[in-house]
Amino acid sequence: MRDTAGSQTATRWVLRVLVVGYLFLLVIWPVVLVAQETFAHGLAPVIDALRQAEVIFAFQLTLSAAFWAVVINTIFGVGISLLLVRYTFPGRRTLNALVDLPLAVSPIVVGLSLILVYSGRTGWLGGSLEQAGLQIIYAPPGIILATAFVSMPLVIREVMPVLQEIGTEQEQAARSLGASALQTFARITLPAIRWALLYGVVLSLARSLGEFGAVKIVSGGVAMRTQTATLLVEERYQQFGVENSIIAYTAAFILALIAVVALVVVSSFQPQKGRR
């Protein structure tokens, strides 16, 4: 009996060391090195880099595109979750499977697909939209579309299970007592899904800020016009000179910082998730 207990402890230790070592080499050490590299020349160059007009522009563009993508995804996500959970209609099962498609498709394929439809020169709809004065590809609307595409399922995936679990008794009670559909949603449904919704919004925002491949194709990446933060990292890293490299590392560090903060915020919601 003691032998099995001993070998169990040994296995436990082997696995523990294997897992910690693996994660250290694959994630922890490389991430720490990037932080070190960013501040290798001290704080002053990093602050200088953040003052550059192109860096400020890139982050402003990224933030505004992410903001609109998240707003669109939140409204669409809550709407489609309510429809999928609360109603029956033909094609419901197919639609449910298809809303996950954006997470499974390569960002490059996303970019190509948007070009094929919205490019002003050759796109199916792009020509007529351009005549109506709306340029999408190589312009901010294209960046918003690409960002909304890749982060679309995140809100839905969080909200749908909660909607299924809370059921309809309270909503039906509210309706039978004379509340309007809007009142029922604002007073009963929304409070019940608020944590899941917030979780989905944070995930969606993190994904939107970091999108690279799809945005690269639809935006063209022109500095001060359509260059987002991730595109700035790529461009500056590939240019020569310490200054460019510091700008690349600084922008990357800020993006990584936002991602990690979002992650910590999200995992602090985990208890609420577990309780539901």
């Binding site: 922890i28 669409f76 099962r93 298809l98 299924q164 970091g210 194709i217 590939q238 990357a252 910590v264």
Partner: protein, 296 residues
Amino acid sequence: MTHRTGVVEPPPLDSPIAGAATNAAGRRLLRGRSATSLTRASGLGLGVALMWFSLLVLIPLTAVLVQASEGGWSAYWESLRSPQTFAALRLTVGQAILVTVVNIFMGTTIAWVLVRDHFPGKQVLEVVIDIPLALPTIVAGLVLLSLYGPSSPLGVNWANTPVSVFLAFLFVTLPFIVRTVQPVLLEIEPEVEEAAASLGASQFTIFSRVILPSLAPAIASGAALSFCRAISEYGSLVLLSGNLPYSTEVASVRILSYIEGDKLTEAAALASILLIVALIVIVILDVISRRVARYA
């Protein structure tokens, strides 16, 4: 629970990606909940939602398939069989399979340690697992470059070699199997393992006869997700792999260079392969989650 007549009860739906293998308990709760057929207002809502979904996702993805078929079957095969494209596909699929196999082993091990073992700092590891998913892919490439690139403190330089493709895939797919296996492992009571041990089963027997069968659906869905993510990866490779034709060029990079060369039909042909794999993975996940729900 009794039903009013006229209330139609839809079958519960799971997100194939989020729900595979884990929502069985939730599904059982759902029976007996009611929902209705469309009213006028919700019908209008569905119309608007479908229109947006079509404009954003369905029409563009259909355009890829239409563009791919532009030159007919022979042109389609011809563009896929061009040596450079074929080399890119072979590298992508080969490395994706290799990474998925490593993930099946490491992901399950990590999940087991996170659920069954207790040591200081375990909470930190929970966050570390999700970092690859949260980090922008271009930053992920920069991160890997810092330890495995030219200025590596380890003295290795794997930048611009096929190993860098393997590393990038390994990094971005880290969370998938861990996160699908973990919840299932949490539901298996440790008592079951202890009972098997007290009856004299060896650790290997316990794992392969008691734990593994219940984990299989979760591992399968995690593996499908991880394969799908690997073959579609682009951002983390840009700075890391050098995108050298016949050596480190993956399918996504090949599509991009077709787009930049204004060869949209060739780009769409290769993109259609990735798109079809994505659709197959979604169907597989849907089937797995439905089977798990049936037997739960």
